[in-house]
Symmetry: C2
Subunit: 444 residues, 2 copies
């Protein structure tokens, strides 16, 4: 997508909280979620964040005043999942974005023909009074492995003499994940019980994971899929993607080590995956596109993974941060300790390449499918996206601001992920946060 | 489940075709599918096979005459998926089974109080006039790897000096599969395109899979799931399973070899999975339970995988056969060639163990989830459940009855799987078949 007037840094909203410099949700963002007033029996429906408010899209659709694709899009958003809205495609997504932008922009009354500010104000729900549901019925969830820094860190920890698997530079590696246990920020995550093989032992034993970890990822919501037996070309793949959220790919490293050969991770991952409620659209992210960082000398991708269309804009410069709030810190009112900070721009494979690879064999994607980017680690040690990398698998426990240390997650720890984009000449936009606390294992 | 009157070999139906000795669907079977009259715009709804007919459960529910759980079950089956019916649980499944058994049994008019044979006859749709839909909305699909003979065959082919992975004897290994591309018997399957690394080469190339294969499996439909963070004990796991169908886990071996390290199969499997339309219930299968064949000297499973409840009845003696119909055979009116025949009783891990393992870490199963048993191979060479085993990865091409040979599948080949159970003193029951044809790759 090219930049348009919805990216103008000068545009302000008559919803004043959207203009605060620290707001994650200025007029230029307009991310989507599914929400209702907390604690009520209201139907869940689509909403768009603006400053301290949620624009209720069911109320917007009922208002009238929209026409054509924007009206159709708003109506589709009145449902308890956004799947039907996604399926309408990028022209409809943009029509609604442009309509909301015009309606909520300050000083442009002509764009609001037939709709008054009072009527629009009645569509606003204070954001601190809502609760969220998963934004889509997720048909399938695929988790990728596309950070070369993460891959190198893991290889070094596991096999000091090892090297990256030969296929890494040739394809965005992925495996299928579990849909049923995907939850939203706020979901408590129970420490899993599973089989682990202790060092030097020949027989596994059952017990709570002693190496519970998070993985910092972005979630990628598929807007428009493809028919089984067809593929999505890399050149048009971005048009199939609706937007991104934060994703925590919880991982039990001890369970993973013992179970993963030969078929990959299973129980080590499927006990929980946590995503943030707001989906930031690809259109909102357009100003933060940047070149993909494929090192000189690495082989060029095969044709079906080479995008000629946007050679310098395949990656996104999205700032990401992970913080840990221990039970002790929470009790004593201390802040969460920052564990790492990095950017999504370091990723080896782009989102478009993930989509093209996923469908090259004819696998059908559907509206609402979720892809995980894979753990996002940057090139320096402090940019690692998982505790196992930061603590070097427990050899160098991480020191927290509270004076505590961590090799892996302990019960009561809350993992807090946040993301935002900033670039000179553009309004900063945010993802909000994903926060989830570890509960003790069920273990007699 | 204990045996009851619905397993009596003497019970006959007034629907005469159900009493034919070769019928897959006698009164003792009563498997479930979702169907409608072919080529119409009728709503899909649940049905039960009886002889040459489908009992239309929407019509049954409308009839009245059922009460309590049986009535509730029939109403749930009137929907276009069986998920709501599954969620009612085993007492409801049995109540409907018992009610249908009584209604359609010959010579027991007292069981049909208030419902006439004419009214029941009006609920029958000729089976050769219907088309099917997936029986449930499948939330997640998990594919297991539980045949030790298959595992040994594959290890021998891949690494002549290799041995079974150390975890095989300790857990039913599994990975998550793709839901979107699961289709029904009859779905054409397009040969996938993907990356393959030719022998001796350092760079992969893209092209149609040259090693397309099938895998003979059973599909296992979860009836009742569990809450996230809880587990299903092995002792009660069978009560969570609704029933079984045939499953073809299509596999592109060349794509699989190159992509599977380190995270397991992805594009090699996700282009298609084919299941048969009829789900044979666990209750119908009760007479065919048998002991699980864990060899003497193998380690005993950990407690959470040890069933004390049914020590000699954890496995099912289900006869399975794979046949190949080539395009040439089809043109000249020849029969399909049998490739292999085996029984599910050779499996190393039971269905109950798969369910218990899947949930030990707190992963939630949901009504309508599908598990694949993993490739079912028996102890002898002719019992192998995949072409790669039968042809020894192409070293010994299989000779077909038509005089043709196959190392892997060719375009136009139809893979036909069938299954049935037989045991002295009990009525034989069948699964019907799964049949699917290979289309040429989309490849310019």
């Amino acid at each position: 997508m090219r930049l348009d007037h919805t990216h103008d840094i000068g545009a302000r909203s008559w919803v004043e909280s959207a203009n605060a410099p620290q707001s994650a949700f200025p007029l230029q963002n307009l991310p989507f979620a599914v929400f209702r007033r907390a604690g009520t029996a209201e139907a869940f429906r689509g909403g768009v964040a603006l400053g301290d408010y949620v624009i209720d899209l069911d109320a917007v659709a009922t208002l009238g005043g929209l026409s054509g694709m924007a009206a159709q899009a708003a109506s589709a958003c009145a449902q308890p999942t956004l799947n039907a809205f996604f399926a309408l495609g990028p022209d409809a997504w943009r029509a609604l974005r442009h309509a909301l932008f015009a309606w909520f922009k300050a000083g442009d009354a002509t764009a609001r023909t037939g709709v008054s500010i009072d009527e629009l104000t009645a569509c606003l729900v204070p954001r601190n009074e809502v609760e969220y549901a998963l934004p889509a019925q997720i048909g399938d969830y695929t988790d990728f492995y596309t950070s070369v820094d993460h891959a190198r860190n893991i290889v070094k920890l596991m096999r000091p003499d090892g090297s990256l698997s030969a296929n890494f530079q040739w394809m965005p590696i992925a495996y299928h994940g579990r849909v049923s246990s995907i939850g939203l920020s706020g979901q408590p995550v129970r420490r899993p019980v599973g089989q682990r093989l202790a060092a030097g032992k020949r027989e596994p034993e059952l017990g709570p994971s002693a190496r519970l970890d998070y993985e910092l990822e972005l979630g990628i919501f598929i807007g428009v899929g493809n028919e089984q037996g067809t593929r999505i070309p890399v050149e048009s793949a971005d048009e199939h993607v609706f937007g991104l959220c934060l994703l925590n790919d919880w991982s039990a490293r001890d369970i993973q080590t013992w179970e993963s050969v030969p078929l990959g991770p299973f129980l080590a991952k499927n006990f929980a995956t946590t995503i943030s409620p707001w989906i930031v659209t690809m259109d909102a992210l357009a100003p933060f596109r940047t070149a993909l960082a494929r090192p000189e000398g690495d082989p060029q991708p095969l044709d079906y993974l080479s995008s000629q269309a946007l050679p310098d804009q395949a990656a996104f410069d999205i700032q990401l941060e992970v913080a840990l709030e221990t039970a002790d810190a929470r009790r004593s009112g201390k802040r969460a300790s920052r564990l790492s900070r990095t950017s999504f721009r370091h990723q080896y494979w782009s989102i478009a390449q993930m989509v093209a690879h996923h469908t090259i064999g004819g696998c059908n994607l559907r509206s609402g499918d979720l892809l995980g980017s894979g753990t996002i680690s940057g090139p320096t040690a402090s940019e690692a996206g998982a505790l196992i990398e930061l603590s070097r698998a427990g050899q160098s426990p991480v020191e927290l601001d509270t004076g505590e240390t961590r090799s892996f997650l302990e019960d009561g720890d809350a993992v807090v992920m946040s993301g935002w984009c900033e670039r000179a000449g553009f309004a900063s936009i945010g993802f909000g946060e994903s926060r989830s606390e570890v509960l003790p294992a069920m273990w007699e």
